[in-house]
C-alpha cells in the first residue's frame, strides 16, 4: 500500500465517518432521551437526500448558482424533521411510550416500511445523482492526492461542529438541561413543571433533522436510490451500538473507526468492505456487551 492509496483510504474513511456520525447522532439522541430506537431513521435519511436533489434540481434549472445547493440542504433537513418527524412523534410515538420495547420497535419498523414505499411513489426507482455542491467547492491536493474540499474539509467540519454543538447544547443551555433532566427522571422533571411532551417532540424533531441532514449532505457524493435507508439504519445502529446506546461522543469515535475500517477494506479486501462495520460491531459487543462507552445497567433487586 503506497502513500497515495493510504491517503485516499484515510480521506474516504473520514468523509464517510462524518456522514454516518451525523445520522447516528440523531439516532442516539432520540434513544438517549426517549428510549426508542427509531428504525424509520434510515428513511428520514433517504428522504433528506431525495428532497435535496429535487430542490437543487429545481433551483439550478431556474438558473441560480450551484452554491445555493448548501442552504437547500439545510432546508431539506428541516423539512424532513418538521414535516415527517414532528407528526410521527405527535400522532404515533406518543401513544406507545408506555408499551414494551419490542412493540415500540415494531411500530417504528412499520413506519419504516411505509416510508420506503412513499419514497418509491414520490421519486420512483431510478437513481438520482447531483454533485453540483461537490463541484462548487472544488478540489484540494494533499501530498499529491487530489480530493474534494466538500468531503475532506466540509463534512468533517460539520460533523465536529455538530458534536461540539450538541455537547454545548445539552450541558449549557436551558433547553438542553431540560432535555437531560427529562431523560434522567421523567416524573421528577414533570413535577418541577417541565413539559415532557414538548421535550420529547422537540428532541425527536432534532433527531429527525439530523437524519435528514445526513441524507442531504450525502446526496452530492452518492447515487440516491431505493434501499439506501435500510443500509443506513443498520449501519448507524452498528455505530450507536458499538459506542453504547445514548453515547454521543462515543458515537463519533466509533463512526470514525467503522468509517476507516470500511474504507481501508475497500482498497485492501473489497469483497469484505460491506462486512467490516458489522465485524467491528460484533467483536466489540463480544468483549463489551454494553458497547465501548456504555455502562452496564445494574438490575436492581
Amino acid at each position: 500500500m503506497n502513500l497515495a492509496i493510504f491517503l485516499l483510504a484515510l480521506f474516504d474513511g473520514v468523509a464517510y465517518a462524518a456522514l454516518v456520525f451525523i445520522v447516528a447522532l440523531g439516532l442516539t439522541l432520540i434513544f438517549g432521551v426517549m428510549r426508542i430506537l427509531n428504525v424509520a431513521h434510515g428513511s428520514l435519511y433517504a428522504i433528506g437526500a431525495y428532497t435535496t436533489v429535487t430542490l437543487t434540481g429545481w433551483v439550478l434549472a431556474l438558473g441560480f448558482a450551484p452554491i445555493l445547493a448548501f442552504p437547500l440542504m439545510l432546508v431539506s433537513a428541516v423539512l424532513v424533521g418538521v414535516l415527517i418527524g414532528g407528526p410521527l412523534e405527535y400522532f404515533l410515538l406518543r401513544r406507545i411510550y408506555d408499551k414494551s420495547e419490542v412493540l415500540q420497535l415494531l411500530v417504528t419498523f412499520a413506519v419504516f416500511m411505509i416510508l420506503e414505499d412513499v419514497q418509491r411513489l414520490v421519486w420512483g426507482t431510478r437513481p438520482y445523482f447531483d454533485s453540483s455542491a461537490l463541484q462548487a467547492l472544488g478540489n484540494i491536493s494533499v501530498f499529491g492526492v487530489t480530493y474534494t474540499v466538500y468531503q475532506l474539509i466540509l463534512l468533517p467540519l460539520i460533523a465536529v461542529t455538530l458534536l461540539l454543538g450538541m455537547r454545548f447544547f445539552l450541558r449549557h443551555t436551558l433547553t438542553g438541561k431540560l432535555i437531560t433532566a427529562t431523560t434522567e427522571d421523567r416524573e421528577a422533571a414533570q413535577s418541577i413543571g417541565v413539559d415532557a411532551d414538548k421535550v420529547f417532540l422537540f428532541t425527536f424533531i432534532i433527531g429527525a433533522v439530523l437524519a435528514g441532514l445526513g441524507g442531504a449532505l450525502a446526496s452530492p457524493t452518492t447515487s440516491i436510490l431505493p434501499g439506501m435507508g435500510a443500509d443506513m439504519i443498520v449501519l448507524s445502529f452498528a455505530v450507536v451500538a458499538t459506542a453504547g446506546l445514548g453515547q454521543i461522543e462515543g458515537a463519533a469515535l466509533t463512526a470514525l473507526m467503522i468509517g476507516l475500517g470500511r474504507s481501508f477494506a475497500v482498497y485492501l479486501y473489497p469483497e469484505f468492505s460491506v462486512l467490516v462495520p458489522y465485524l467491528i460491531m460484533v467483536v466489540v459487543l463480544l468483549v463489551r456487551p454494553e458497547g465501548l462507552f456504555g455502562t452496564p445497567s445494574a438490575r436492581k433487586i
Binding site: 414494551s100 412493540l103 420497535l105 415494531l106 419498523f109 414505499d117 443498520v234 459487543l285
Partner: protein, 340 residues
Amino acid sequence: MSTHKSKTATTISEPGKGHSVMKSPLSLLWLVVILVVMAVPIAAPSMKLLFTFAMAKGLGVLGVTVLLRAGQVSFGHALYFGIAAYAGAFLMAAMPGMDILIVLLAGGIGATVAGLFVGLFVVRYRGIFFGMLNLAFSMIFWSILEKFYHYTGGADGIRLERPNVFGSAMNHTDFGLVLYYMLVALMIGLGWYTMRWFNSPVGQLFQTIKTNETRLEYLGISPKRALLSGYLLSAALCGVGGVMMGMAQGVVTPEYVWWVRSAEMVFIAVLGGSGSVQGAFLGALIYEAVRTYASVYAGDVWQMILGGFLLVIILFAPGGLIGILQSLFKRSHDKTGGGK
C-alpha cells in the same frame, strides 16, 4: 415508562391461555381447516401453489412466533430461511439425485447450526439489540451472497435441482404434490411439536424470559441457555420452511435473506396472533392470498399497506387474527348460554 411494562406486555402474549372453555369448538375448526387444506390439490388445483408457498412461509413465521413467546422479536430470521435453502441447493449441485428427505434434513441442520453460532452471540441481548443484531447478521449473509457470486451465483441465485423421491426422479406435477403433502405433514407435525414444546418444562422456562429473568437465574437456570433453546427451535423451523420453499420454487436467490422477507415474517406472526401456532399458518395463508391477488394492483405500495396494517394491529387488535377469532367464539359461546 417502565412502570407500565408488566401490564402492557400482555398485549403480545399467547392468546390461548385460560380460555379452555372455547377450546373444543376452535379445535374442531382447525380439524376442518386441515381437511380443506388436504383437499386443495384435488378440489382446486389452481390454488395448490399458493397453499404450498403459504405453508412453507408459515413454518418460517412459526420460528418468529416462538421468539415472540419470550417477548423477543428478530428482524433477521429470513437468514435461516435462506441458509437452509442455499444448503439444499448446494447439496443438490454437489450430489445430483439426492433424496428429498436428505435435502430437507440438510436444510434443517444447516439452519440449526447457523442458529447455534449466531444464537450464542445474540442471546446475550434482549429487545432492541436482539432485534437489530439479528437484522445485522442477515444483512451480512445477504451481502456475502451478493458479493461472492462465483460460489453463490450473486443476485441471480442458484438453481435448486429437483431431488429424487425415495430413489426415483419425478415429473414436475408429481413432485409438486409430494412437496404439498410433505408440507401438510410438516405443518401438522412441527405445529403439534411446537405447541407441546410451549407447554413443556423447557418451553415454559424459555417463555419466562419475557417476564422475569432474575427469578429464572435464581432458579438455577441460565437465561441465555433458556433463550438459546428457543432460538435453535426457531432457526430450525425457519430452515425447514426455507428449504421447502427452495424446492418449491426451484431456484434460490439472495432475496430469501433480504430484510424485507424478515419483516414479512414478523408481520405475519403479529397479524396471525403473536405467539399462536395456528395464527402463524393462518396469517401466512391470508398474507399469501392477499399478496397474490392484491400485489397485481398495489405492487408499488405493498410495503406501505403492510406497514399500515401492522400499525393497526399493534394499536387496535394486539391479539391478531387468532385473538379476534377467539373473542368471536367466546361471544357466540356466551350468547348461547354456555360456560362452565
